[in-house]
Symmetry: C2
Amino acid sequence: MEKKYIYDFSEGKKDMKELLGGKGANLAEMTNIGIPVPFGFTITTEACHEYSETNKFPEGIFEEMENKIKLVEEKMGMKFGDPTNPLLLSVRSGAAVSMPGMMDTVLNLGLNNAIVEGMIQKTGNERFVLDSYRRFIQMFGDVVMDVAHHDFEKILHAKKEAKGTQFDTDLTSDDLRELITEFKAMVHDKLGKDFPEDPLEQLKLSIEAVFASWNNSRAVLYRKLNDITGLQGTAVNVQAMVYGNMGDTSGTGVCFTRDPATGENIFYGEYLMNAQGEDVVAGIRTPKELDTLGEQNAEVYKELCDIRVKLEQHYKEMQDMEFTIQEGILYILQTRNGKRTTASGVKMAVDMVSEGLITKKEALLRIEPNSLNQLLHKRLDPESKAKFEAVAKGLPASPGAAVGQAVFDAHKAHDWAEYGKTVVLVRTETSPEDLIGMNASQGILTSRGGMTSHAAVVARGMGKCCIAGCADVIVHEAEGYCEVKGQRVNEGDIITLDGTSGELFIGKIESIDPELSGDFETIMNWADEFRRMKIRTNADTPHDSEVAIKFGAEGIGLCRTEHMFFEGERIKAMREMILSADLEGRKKALAKLLPFQKADFKGIFEVMGERPVTIRLLDPPLHEFLPKEEADIKEIAGEVGLSVEKLHEKIDSLHEVNPMLGHRGCRLGITYPEITEMQTRAIIEAAIEVKKEKGTNFVPEIMIPLVGNVNEFKNQKDLAKKTADGIIAESGVELKYMIGTMIEVPRGALTADAIAEHAEFFSFGTNDLTQMTLGFSRDDVGSFVPEYIEQGIFEKDPFQVLDQTGVGQLVKMAVEKGRAGRENIKLGICGEHGGDPSSVEFCHKVGLDYVSCSPFRVPIARLAAAHAVIKESQ
Amino acid sequence: MEKKYIYDFSEGKKDMKELLGGKGANLAEMTNIGIPVPFGFTITTEACHEYSETNKFPEGIFEEMENKIKLVEEKMGMKFGDPTNPLLLSVRSGAAVSMPGMMDTVLNLGLNNAIVEGMIQKTGNERFVLDSYRRFIQMFGDVVMDVAHHDFEKILHAKKEAKGTQFDTDLTSDDLRELITEFKAMVHDKLGKDFPEDPLEQLKLSIEAVFASWNNSRAVLYRKLNDITGLQGTAVNVQAMVYGNMGDTSGTGVCFTRDPATGENIFYGEYLMNAQGEDVVAGIRTPKELDTLGEQNAEVYKELCDIRVKLEQHYKEMQDMEFTIQEGILYILQTRNGKRTTASGVKMAVDMVSEGLITKKEALLRIEPNSLNQLLHKRLDPESKAKFEAVAKGLPASPGAAVGQAVFDAHKAHDWAEYGKTVVLVRTETSPEDLIGMNASQGILTSRGGMTSHAAVVARGMGKCCIAGCADVIVHEAEGYCEVKGQRVNEGDIITLDGTSGELFIGKIESIDPELSGDFETIMNWADEFRRMKIRTNADTPHDSEVAIKFGAEGIGLCRTEHMFFEGERIKAMREMILSADLEGRKKALAKLLPFQKADFKGIFEVMGERPVTIRLLDPPLHEFLPKEEADIKEIAGEVGLSVEKLHEKIDSLHEVNPMLGHRGCRLGITYPEITEMQTRAIIEAAIEVKKEKGTNFVPEIMIPLVGNVNEFKNQKDLAKKTADGIIAESGVELKYMIGTMIEVPRGALTADAIAEHAEFFSFGTNDLTQMTLGFSRDDVGSFVPEYIEQGIFEKDPFQVLDQTGVGQLVKMAVEKGRAGRENIKLGICGEHGGDPSSVEFCHKVGLDYVSCSPFRVPIARLAAAHAVIKESQ
């Protein structure tokens, strides 16, 4: 049998998108379920592919096409190329994946001088026919013949000027006749050949042009940017033209089967009588609301309402439709799943389940987990925002909105906030010393650093809006102001950050609080019904823990103890510890820290109730706690009783070339066992007191960081166990606890079997594991990772989306080895990837017991974990 | 059958070391081949083990022992505990592994008052018998009864003082009788019980004491430090006593079957007549050379000479023997493999092969590869060194010796050397900017940094002596002097470094040049006969290449191109490139570098002939090439036409938090393709010219560094290939070349299959692979790795000895995946581990094709590669 290159609309169906493109498949689907679609046919993507390869049309395709044209003529009762009753055609591209505006379209095809006169005879509407012909010449000339759009516009413009009119619609039939002549003359001038008069030739040339548009530079770039691969080409839809501008009984409109903004189950749309599709969009005439269409034509409106129900029942999805009424007869030109906001999508999904239209599983899959972000953060009021212009744009490092007074010093930010001011912290970059100020601010703006810089990571953890790496902002911290492209922002000036877009504004824009509606909760509850994995959160304070519980966290997967050392008296004692010359001195300083740590842990245990809490022992290198600025060094030298010179020496001696790979994690606990002892004591004493006071039954989990060698783990476990068991025995309270480790050093993954023999749980620290497996310092990748992603070396930023090919292998290996070493070992992840949907799916597949992410990503992780189960079952 | 706890000397043999200990097994072996050994028996290590576990003697052991004593009595014709003809015994420990001095010994056992009198009767030598008893009481009292050695010495000392004598030997029989009485009284005083008179009780208590000594703290520590594990305990050797101090026909001596210092096949040793073993060692009397023994007793000397031959033939190894002549009868008390210098060991091994005593394989296995280091570097003349005292000690970072004038600035070192001075460079630490001075110096001394610091690595590569991290040296670079524990060393003062011990001396010590004797070459040639792996070298200059070829290198496995950028005009052009604002500027600067690079490569290709040369493209981050000191910054700002402020900004913008994981390796080549282009051009043009001029047929290998993702490799390969093919086509010369990659990022190993589809070779960069797999920054591990090794967390420094458990897994995986991706892929290693014997063995086992190491380690690698094959075949 010969290859079939053309399907008429009665031959296709909606799941033939690969071959017929999305538009073609849907036109066929509608045709077959009895929706009034102007008849036509689709030339397959295969034909396009062959054309691209050989640069000519496949053999036999024109015979096939002539047969199909006959069918269209029969169905429409008109004849292509016949002046007495001419069939006009549209030619539209349509690939399997929507590529809006990227490829070409020709309308009104099939007109020439003779047919124009015949049509005028037939319709009695001279102006309409001439205007159609004028538009056709313009479109065909541009798309098919490659004459610049601009060249036609110039002539049109001159004509209007000459006639003293403003709108195209003001041109008379005579004017249009002149225009047509002038257009054709210009084409002949430019190309040295005539505008084609033969309808069939027009059709073939148009199809060829659409095929060729598949590989035009716009389309190639679009596919590259949107990572669209594996397609054969575009299909071409050839369809009978219908007209909404044939008089007052004609019209055209766009409608949605539900309200795309709110999700409400109402018929929503706009239309214009005696108009063409583009007029609705162009905004020259104001369209009318759909529910007034009944007043124009009750029958057509009823028919449209019936079609609305039929299409939604059929597609089980909110539809975005285009329709045209030609002299009282309704045609549907297109249907597709409608775009919507996250909030409306959630409402529709819940409604459709209660309407029995879709299942819970289907409802869950309709919601892209990351889109929940929109529901979880304060955002700028679009109306208010529209009145402002952004002065600079940085990386959208943490979503949400922040409005407040600019402050350039963390301590000042803290102080101002204490006085009740709302502040935005602006820094070149941030360090742990700035935590106090970040915590006190509405949002953070930095001029340096990437999506995973300190500012970005901490801000996301805090659920605070952050713009990072906004290079146009030059911050003068010492002087207390910044410059944005020559504009000066002083301390106290109001600025607004849009963390979702990365835009910076000077002045105050109104913002909108997140609304966690009932439907959102319903979706979350359904997600919980399906998911296997538990969702924990990364939280270091009682407040974060409370927020996370509200968002559905079932435990803490990572409580970082170092953040607790940065405030007030604590940092003093911490520095005293670091600067002590001997064990005695360190123990004395640690004794001062103990009550703080203990109080922190008590607070967290009280909030978390019986939920599990994993506490990681001190991780960062000690130099992070020491001052960097000369003024601070002077002050601190006085406090700890060292000369400034000595303090400099000490700071220098702690300097590291690659702190990421230096003296940190369990390496600290091994060289300074007294730190591990103090932290264990704080955890266990806090747990005992909470248990005594509240009677809650919980099992704290002590996590040893940065283990790469089982001997490291054994060393720290023995020490922690000895300390804990002693305290428990003394207290007389029965308390269980667990000791486990982070798997974040490649060697830890490689030797996970040995480690699992001693560790009761693993938590994958995929941030560090990514850094070491890839050899990428998070702080330094800004110089090449953007280029890597642009060049396609990595598809995604591996710090945002887990690198399954590389890092994933180590995670898998460690899971297998971990279970081999200890059958019932508890396995989780606490890197930033714990809140990324595709990474969560990976975690499910490799069999982790839980993922842990920042409080504001808990709902995303809940949904992603449910998706993973549902997709697996399909 | 009951368990056998005791073996008499006729029952054991030399391969029963596990059960009988080394000493016992050899005593038995000698007995069985007819060597005159005082008869005795060995109590097994199993008995010791049971004693340790249960704290009592195994059942039935005493019956067994009484039978064995009877046998000894028969053989020796004496009777244990019989005053008329008493058998005296020695009790000595002896484990399977030698633990010199760690456990206890009792001699002269079996004496008491009655027996002493009987013996005096029998021997007629009152003083000898009394002295023996005195010694026995002292030894037994100390070892078995736990009376402090000091308490006996005090009495002895008082006695000598009272008698006005200086030596023990001056004490008369009467003095000794008094001493014995006083000793016994003191013991009774201290312990409240009598010194035991019953010989059998003495024996049992002594055996118990030796068993107990297995777990004394000295022995436990020794085993820990020397990593001796898996032993059951010590054996106990009970042997008839013989005496060399029974008059002028008695004597004792130590001898070696060959000269241990030179390796010559001569009988070498010393003896003393009428003396005990300890007298030979103690140095109070000067021993005589062995060849004069014939004058004393020709018959005994001949017998000893025969035994020498017999033992060497039997053991096929140079023996270290102890002998005693008792009243004209020769006894051999011990034999063992003798210690030797590397040079003598090499000579003996070669001689023994030509004597037909051992095979080549055995000869090779006798030489520990690392010991060849002794033969490969200049060393201090021990005689001259003995006159000096070290003023400080640092890490022995690169072996050898250096004598010269101290200089504290690299450029000055270079200049002084140009004027013909010999200099030693002294710095706090070194950076690539110091290369020029390091190269010009005899040796390098740094006060900071570890075994793998820049100074250490570069010095080893250059084969130059280096002491690193010598913390007692405080260097004042700017002022041009250093202080060593208060002593001042000015610029120009002569200092001496011993890189093998890490000792620093002030003043000039004479040194000895390395002698590569004919035997050494013979051993190397034999090694070449056996090894499968090729040995390449890491060399960046024609000079290094020449040295390496002399040492047997078969190619260059790593030619680092960045070292070529640090001198004179080059560094200027390099900085110009880095500081250029745009591509244009970078290309201009690179064009200046091209001729330098090309000339470098030509020089290397010319030296290497048809041997393969792997050239690595630029690897370090660009900021390494920028100035750090304020003065340099000022100067360079002028040179490149930037303001000092702008230059500071540029330097700041290139600063990286973790340069190890930053913008380096192929990441540079991807973001600045013009660098890869220039380097490829330099390589290919150089190769074409050498081929044209010399007609040599060689295949240059271009190596892309730091690949973790196949797309990185493809990007750089495509670029290099395009550049190379263009040049080759233009030249008209046929030139083959290969493009491969370093595997040094964990992700590179994990995805080696994909990379191998495009890469023609892999070279394992185990330095960086270790850094990333373990998360250890080489520059920063000084703060915890020493403690890790002390605590046994890592057995060895993983930068010196490949971590087979962790990093080794990745290497293995990458080898398997690499071969899966490309069957005939060439695999090698170019990390520092390429010169470490155990790591070389690992490389052989996993199937690498070659190892590459610094020139001075090439012979070590050759031998280690042969060892690997020989061990595998066994």
